[in-house]
């Protein structure tokens, strides 16, 4: 009997269980260690290969893009051959070349961008990227959609087809953004019957894409003001505000009576940014209804303070001087201080006794470093 067998014989059921568990975890740990070391070696190798490939691709790409008009057909083919010789070797090389060209495309415009896009197609990278759209991984698909959109190699119909078959949220967002770049007016039709959430993050992305479009091509967002979805209405009000669609002011006014206080606050903010002084009475009229709502009161004070000095509106601001919300009181003081026929002296003489914090706020607002 060996020492180990002797040791095993001394263990009861629980001891044997522990021993087996220990061996199991030790073997697992060794496998993970091995995986860690192999993975490390592979990523180092990939990094080196990536550097070499990037260096190899740099010169031919520059020649093809920068000297596009000066190259003869043979010269062009020769440069393309240099690239295809390398990319023919592996998928990794093809993907690296595609990545390099896509990243270069972001910094190019005009003829150079067109030359780069043509080169991308001539190298068959569009076909390569499209073949990867059939992968099961949503990450690969989304990356390919981004690349193909950047290189102008995917149509609205293709994107539409992909959208119909996509279930992953991030992939859907990537397709939507790609569609906006291809055909923004069509892409935004998703808002028609949309009832899901529209996060602030999605708004950031949509705004980013739309801000690259010429302002005259940005769709009129007021057509969605009647949407049943609060999220869609909020999104459209904010887009109207940021794209300064002054023609939508009249369509925006009914939103002051929307069922959602968030929409009302956003509408007043948008009207303020659009300098819609003509609706000051309408904004002031809802002030009493929402006096207890801090966000709406703050927006009303800001709006009135900037766009009106009618006596009735000044009285409203005076009412806000004793509002329970500190921010609203602050805004009301700022607004009254800025009025030429009101100002600091009148505030100090007539109002400061009404609320203990008003003196502090007046001091704050008077200081040039805090304005």
């Amino acid at each position: 009997m060996t020492a180990f067998e002797q040791f095993l014989s001394t263990l009861d059921e629980r001891g044997t269980f522990f021993l087996m568990a220990a061996v199991f975890f030790l073997l697992l740990s060794m496998s993970v260690t091995l995986l860690l070391l192999v993975r490390r070696a592979l990523s180092r190798r990939d990094d080196r290969l990536l550097e070499t490939l990037k260096e190899t691709f740099q010169e031919p790409i520059n020649t093809l893009v920068m000297l596009d008009g000066e190259l003869t057909a043979d010269q062009r083919r020769a440069q393309l051959n240099i690239l295809t010789d390398v990319t023919g070797r592996s998928t990794f090389a093809r993907q690296t070349l595609a990545n390099e060209m896509v990243s270069l495309r972001k910094s190019l415009s005009g003829a150079a961008a067109t030359a780069l896009e043509r080169t991308f197609v001539d190298l068959g990278l569009d076909v390569f990227c499209k073949s990867r759209l059939h992968f099961t991984s949503w990450k690969v698909k989304a990356k390919m959609i981004q690349d193909l959109t950047e290189m102008n190699c995917i149509s609205r119909e293709e994107l539409q087809k992909l959208q119909n078959h996509s279930h992953h949220q991030t992939l859907k967002e990537a397709i939507l953004i790609a569609m906006i770049r291809r055909d923004h007016a069509y892409a935004l039709r998703f808002l028609d019957g949309y009832e899901g959430p529209l996060s602030q993050w999605m708004m950031v992305n949509l705004y980013q894409q739309l801000s690259q479009v010429h302002f005259s091509h940005v769709p009129d967002f007021s057509k969605w003001f009647g949407s049943r979805s609060e999220e869609v209405v909020l999104f459209c009000v904010r887009m109207t505000q940021h794209f300064r669609q002054l023609g939508s002011v009249d369509a925006m006014v009914p939103l002051l009576h929307h069922t959602s206080p968030r929409v009302i606050a956003a509408t007043i903010q948008a009207l303020h940014d659009l300098n819609a002084f003509q609706v000051a009475d309408k904004v002031a009229r809802i002030a009493d209804l929402f006096y207890a709502n801090d966000t709406i009161s703050l927006q009303v004070a800001r709006f009135i303070g900037r766009l009106s000095n009618a006596p009735a509106h000044v009285r409203l601001l005076e009412k806000y001087l004793v509002h329970p919300s500190f921010e609203v009181r602050h805004e009301a003081v700022s607004a009254l201080m800025a009025m030429p026929d009101y100002g600091r002296n009148r505030l100090m003489a007539e109002q400061v006794h009404r609320e203990p914090t008003l003196y502090q706020i007046i001091q704050h607002t008077s200081d040039p470093l805090l304005r």
């Binding site: 568990a21 860690l36 602050h330 805090l370």
Partner: protein, 477 residues
């Protein structure tokens, strides 16, 4: 009979703790994979130019930071974000922190009006810079009241939607704010967000920026690198996936200001104010029946200097244990309370039984073993198999953490570093872990004795200078 019951209890505890850790490990790996894929496409620069980006106040309390305060503030001012303000709260420093700030940033007192929603020690003066380049900077000079009190003063003065509470001496990655605000933008129910904190000892820091990541030269901080990777990259990520995260590190956390204020801000009467705030915010939301989520970013966003001596590390861990125990005691009503959902049924019991109780169980197990050894009742073969299973399990967990780090952020790129970390994982269970158990026990003992202060903290400093900051009661390290 008693021996059998005790054996059985230790056995059940060991099995369940391993099972829970394995489960958390699996959840963390799934979440990591999902996060990496999802954020592969994200262009954070969009947030910089977007009018939809939320506004952020950075609140950084400073106590006796005269040696480094200027570089630290410059580093904060250089963070990539547009709609933000930086509030430095001088918590009654006894050194030249305030004088240096006034001189370097051309500060002058201003009549700043604010609403004292949270009670704090008296604010002496508030300063703004005359230089437009520093227009985002606001400096608050107040009486000493401790870290929580200073953070509450910052919360009072903040005028932004989100508040990022940070340790002023941490190195924050330049895109950290962009990454931290994203969860708030993706989901309006997010009330707080935490990021990974890493160890900066021996890293190359220039002008408040991390230039090169290096493994610490000293052994003790090196162990903490491994420990932090395990805790931040795996543990907290798993809890975030389960929406059961109870702790956002005090070194760098972001909260919705409105929710933090309505929950009552930081509790100045605990040394674990970071955990306590998160638990209270969650509890408040639950009691108000509002949907909420606490998010977590696995990206390394914040680099901090780890204690490099046993004495200082011991004090830190002692304080952490006291903080955790105080929070668990304060919120004991949560335990197995279905009214608080997952927090009451899963997160809180986990923290109580597997975070707070585990060092006590280890200690009890060892004491029992010693007793049995003295009375000749130890089955040594059984004991060695038990030790082996614990050792192999902890080595396995560390290796998974290292693999996860390599597959995700891969900050320690040198081969030597990888080998050193594997070696650390091998010796950690016998060299480092027993110390943690001891300090944790001391923490519990000190708590029972009524110790409430933070303890002294000696820092090496990123620039190799020696700096000692004597802490008064309740002051921050």
């Amino acid at each position: 009979m008693i021996h059998e019951i005790f054996n059985q209890a230790i056995f059940v505890y060991a099995i369940t703790i391993c099972g829970v850790f394995l489960l958390l490990l699996a959840i963390a790996l799934i979440e990591m994979n999902s996060y990496m894929k999802k954020n592969f496409f994200v262009d954070y620069k969009y947030i910089l130019s977007s009018p939809f980006a939320p506004s952020v106040s950075l609140v950084a309390p400073a106590y006796n930071e005269g040696m480094t305060i200027i570089d630290n503030v410059k580093s904060l001012l250089s963070l990539s974000y547009n709609n933000n303000e930086i509030i430095i709260v001088n918590d009654g420093s006894k050194d030249d922190t305030m004088a240096k700030l006034i001189e370097a940033f051309d500060l002058v007192p201003v009549p700043y009006a604010w609403e004292p929603v949270l009670e704090t020690a008296a604010v002496r003066k508030i300063y703004k810079s005359r230089n437009r380049a520093f227009r985002k900077l606001l400096v608050v000079d107040k009486e000493n009241g401790g870290k929580a009190d200073a953070l509450n003063a910052g919360l009072n003065l903040s005028q932004k939607e989100l508040v990022a509470c940070i340790d002023v001496d941490c190195i924050i990655e330049s895109d950290a704010l962009l990454k931290m605000v994203k969860p708030f933008m993706e989901d309006h129910t997010v009330i707080g967000s935490g990021g990974v904190v890493r160890i900066a000892n021996s890293c190359v820091i220039e002008e408040g920026r991390l230039v090169e990541v290096r493994l610490p030269e000293k052994l003790l901080p090196r162990f903490q690198v491994l420990e932090y990777i395990r805790a931040f990259l795996l543990g907290r990520l798993a809890w975030s996936r389960l929406n059961g995260l109870l702790l956002i590190s005090g070194a760098f956390g972001m909260f919705k200001r409105e929710v933090a204020l309505s929950a009552g801000g930081y509790n100045p009467n605990t040394v674990g104010e970071d955990m306590e705030l998160v638990v209270r915010m969650r509890r408040t939301m639950r009691e108000q029946k509002k949907p909420y989520r606490v998010a977590y970013i696995p990206d390394p966003l914040c680099w901090t200097e780890a204690p490099s001596t046993n004495q200082v590390l011991g004090r830190q861990r002692n304080r952490w244990t006291r903080g955790m125990a105080e929070t668990l005691w304060t919120h004991r009503a949560l335990l197995f309370n279905p009214k608080y959902g997952r927090m009451g049924l899963i997160s809180y019991p986990y923290w109580l039984f597997y975070e707070w109780l585990s060092p006590i169980m280890e200690f009890l197990g060892l004491t029992y073993l010693l007793f049995r050894a003295l009375t000749g009742g130890v089955n040594w073969d059984y004991f060695f198999t038990l030790v082996l299973v614990i050792y192999s399990f902890s080595f396995f967990v560390s290796m998974i953490a290292l693999l996860a780090e390599q597959l995700s952020f891969y900050r320690y790129t040198k081969r030597k570093d990888t080998l050193k970390m594997i070696f650390l994982a091998l010796i950690e269970p016998v060299w480092y872990h027993p110390r943690l158990v001891w300090w944790s026990l001391r923490g519990n003992f000190d708590l029972i004795r009524g110790k409430r202060h933070w303890g002294n903290m000696v820092r090496q400093g990123f620039r190799k200078h020696m700096e000692e900051k004597m802490q008064p009661e309740g002051a921050m390290p």
